[in-house]
């Protein structure tokens, strides 16, 4: 068992002994240690309280400039970051950049250099290319937070998923977590697999073989194309959004058959543990990967994930900024 897994064994309750992160950036969940993950979750727990106050604001990041640089459309993640920044009193601004370097005629590196010249403290980046945040971190002295890069990672999503799981489960160790859907294209899956396996969970991934990344077995997960096997006895079920345009890439023949084989219905859910929680990073395709009565049903924690997103991102921004005061 790795030291990470040992830490994870007590993750439900234990508080982290760290007070700061090693890295200036959050580029990838894979860069975090189990201790750092617990630190982020603990900090998020404290940040959650800020959202319950009549005046939802602390001065922690006052005078810090945070740029939300989004090259892909996003409502949920961008809003979540923006609210988190405002609750920390940062000066937040949003840039919705044109798509790719090739289309807009300015390279990503040049965009970064121009932003850098205006000296922001933190840049939150969403980009359609895997590795884009690493590239920015190489160029910029600003701190970079990955808000989703291509098919690579979406670390704050996975962290808020962990926060949500911890609210409901006493420990990560041995927890059966089933991640279901378009595994190939999912950055949410990659970040979650990294963190959940680090904390000792029993991670199952499930999807059609056409959407299963090569070599996925080496990620320390159990891969299956049987939804029943994945759901059987599961403590947590995480459904992934299916991109409707995937049908054109010969990934699956029809939404009807996809729902039939990989959609989470109430009947399927009955195989899981009685205290199962159902998660989804959104946006939902109702009736495709998840039936409405499951999404809206008693096991669903989908909206809790959204709420936790704000607190988690406050924690990440606070820790990345490296400030040590101003939360109270």
């Amino acid at each position: 068992m790795t030291p990470g897994a040992a830490d994870g064994g007590a993750a439900g309750g234990a508080a982290s002994h760290l007070s700061r992160l090693r890295s200036r950036h959050l580029l990838s969940a894979a860069d975090l240690t189990a201790e750092e993950v617990l630190l982020i979750l603990d900090t998020a727990g404290a940040m959650r309280e800020v959202g319950t106050r009549p005046i939802k604001k602390v001065p922690a990041l006052r005078g810090k400039t945070v740029v939300n640089l989004f090259f892909e459309p996003s409502t949920r993640t961008r809003t979540s970051f923006e609210i988190a920044e405002k609750r920390l009193s940062a000066d937040a601004l949003n840039i919705s950049a044109a798509t790719s370097s090739l289309v807009k005629g300015e390279t990503l590196a040049d965009t970064a250099r121009n932003l850098e010249a205006m000296a922001p403290d933190i840049i939150v980046v969403r980009h359609q290319a895997s590795g884009a945040c690493h590239m920015l971190a190489d160029i910029c002295s600003s701190r970079i937070v990955n808000a989703g890069d291509g098919m690579h990672e979406h670390p704050t999503q996975a962290l808020l998923d962990l926060l949500t799981i911890r609210d409901h489960k006493s420990t990560f160790a041995g927890l059966k977590v089933a991640i279901v859907g378009d595994l190939l294209h999912s950055r949410v899956m990659r970040s979650n697999v990294v963190l959940l396996t680090m904390l000792g969970a029993d991670v199952w991934v499930c999807g059609p073989p056409t959407m299963m990344p090569a070599g996925i077995g080496r990620l320390g997960v159990t891969a299956t194309s049987s939804l029943d096997a994945a759901v059987d006895g599961a403590d947590v079920i995480m459904m992934l959004r299916i991109q409707l345009e995937r049908m054109s890439g010969h990934f699956f023949p029809s939404l009807r058959e996809y729902h039939e084989l990989f959609g989470l219905s109430r009947a399927r859910l009955a195989r899981a543990r009685p205290d199962v929680i159902v998660m989804h990073p959104g946006p939902l395709n109702r009736g495709v990967e998840i039936a409405s009565d499951v999404a809206d049903g008693p096991y669903s924690v989908i909206l809790e994930q959204v709420s936790n997103g704000v607190a988690l991102r406050m924690a990440v921004l606070y820790l990345i900024a490296g400030v040590t005061e101003g939360v109270d």
Binding site: S100, A129, S130, G131, H152, R190, P213, A214
Partner: protein, 447 residues
């Protein structure tokens, strides 16, 4: 026929004395003198008389072999001179130990017309360094729709045809090209990769690509087209040469074709027998096509080099400007340069590891490329061109891109410490390159 550097009139003969000569075409490996006169090898043998020749006493430990030929490079001219020119590319070639390079037709415009071939040869003659052997396109614009005038291309100096980078996707077109080109005795070189299986892949489909979130190119994308081309070569009798082979399955298909006597040959690059995808990051200097494969595939390439089923080592020298590479991994162009790192990699990884002999190395880099492309070099027999590469197998090389003669710098070997170097290069009897880092190489100085 392709350009030749003409020896200066009145240049005295050159006598290479006392070196270890390795010339597998004649089964030679031993101490031997070599008299170069009027641009050709005039005489070989022990203790040849000096007889007015300029004498170069070969220092101990160096190996004299036929001029090496890189049968797969991109010189970028015409059209992309900001990446490389024929002058800079051939300067890189001689600094890398190559007396000849075969250049792929994916220039702008594509070398699909005799006029472009002639222009390339004229520029190569002006540069006056390595011989340049143009490869013409299979189809107009390499669009896969209409066959080029292969006869005219051959007459203008093309030594093979290829739509490199744009595989000949349609089986019927490949069949016709093999049949038609066989009339001129030149091979069809194919970059084997099924375009639909490749899709918009950027890295080898495997664990590393899964972790990095990069779209994958499965090894089968190459293998299925190699298998097809072996079958079509068998059907037509036309010679097919598989460019930059990278996976074990392709090698199996080639071996099985060779066992049946099919006219198939293949090459592998130094990076594919040295690196694997395990080392991949988002550094675009590691992005090439075919991508770096897994260790089983890499080991299969090493085995094929050792057992003779791989015919040639070629660099796929693919210069790109730093700006082109300074973009997101998925958007960066494929390709790395290789002319100036190939020989140290070959000597370090293949000779000093004990995998293959120096004779086999010369076969892979001179004898076989000359045979496959029907070139005059590849041997030091009397009458052969006076193109000579002198290797220093034990000299230390530290890879430093700032010393490259290529205009480009895109490669993943910066700072590597390797055992083996090129000492000197003679073309047409004229010394065109001396490696100042190899002490003994001063014997070749032109003075």
């Amino acid at each position: 026929m392709a350009t030749r550097s003409t020896p200066a009139a009145g240049q005295p003969p050159v006598l290479l004395k006392g070196g270890r000569v390795v010339d597998p075409a004649r089964g030679v490996d031993g101490e031997c003198d070599l008299l170069l006169r009027d641009g050709v090898v005039a005489e070989t043998g022990r203790d040849l008389p000096v007889d007015g020749a300029r004498v170069i006493q070969i220092p101990d430990g160096l190996v004299v072999c036929p001029g090496l030929i890189d049968m797969h490079v991109h010189l970028r001219e015409p059209g992309q001179e900001y990446k490389e020119t024929i002058a800079s590319g051939t300067a890189a070639a001689v600094a890398g130990g190559f007396t000849g390079v075969a250049c792929m037709p994916n220039t702008v415009p594509v070398n699909d017309h005799a006029g472009i071939t002639s222009m390339i040869l004229r520029k190569a003659a002006e540069a006056g360094l390595a011989h340049v052997y143009p490869i013409g396109a299979v189809t107009a614009g390499s669009r896969g729709e209409q066959m080029t005038e292969i006869g005219a291309l051959r007459d203008a100096g093309c030594v093979a045809i290829s739509d490199d980078g744009h595989p000949v996707a349609e089986a019927l077109m490949m069949r016709r090209a093999l049949e038609y080109a066989s009339m001129f005795g030149i091979p069809v070189i194919n970059h084997c990769e099924d375009p639909s299986l490749k899709g918009d892949g950027a890295a080898h489909e495997g664990h590393t690509a899964a972790v990095l979130g990069l779209r994958g190119i499965p090894g089968a994308a190459e293998e299925v087209m190699v298998a097809r081309d072996v079958a079509l070569s068998e059907l037509t009798g036309g010679a097919v040469h598989i460019a930059h082979m990278s996976v074990a399955g392709s090698l199996r298909a080639v071996r099985s074709g060779k066992e049946r006597g099919v006219a198939v040959t293949c090459e592998v690059t130094p990076h594919h027998f040295t690196l694997t995808d395990e080392q991949l990051t988002y550094d675009t200097n590691w992005k090439m096509n075919p991508p770096l494969r897994g260790s089983a595939d890499r080991d299969a390439m090493l085995e094929g080099l050792a057992d003779g089923s791989i015919d040639a080592i070629a660099t796929d020298h693919a210069p790109h400007h730093a700006d082109d590479k300074a973009v997101e991994f998925a958007e960066a162009p494929f390709g790395i340069i290789g002319l100036e790192t190939a020989i140290p990699l070959v000597l370090d990884r293949l000779l000093h590891s004990g995998r293959i002999s120096i004779g086999r190395i010369v076969e892979l880099l001179a004898t076989n490329p000359a045979r496959i492309l029907g070139l005059p070099g590849g041997s030091l027999a009397p009458g052969a061109p006076a193109d000579v590469t002198v290797l220093a197998p034990d000299a230390a090389t530290r890879v430093r891109k700032d010393t490259f003669r290529s205009q480009a710098r895109n490669m993943p070997f910066e700072g590597w410490q390797l055992r083996g170097a090129v000492a000197a290069v003679l073309i047409g009897g004229r010394t065109v390159y001396v490696n100042g880092d190899v002490g003994a190489a001063s014997a070749f100085d032109k003075s």
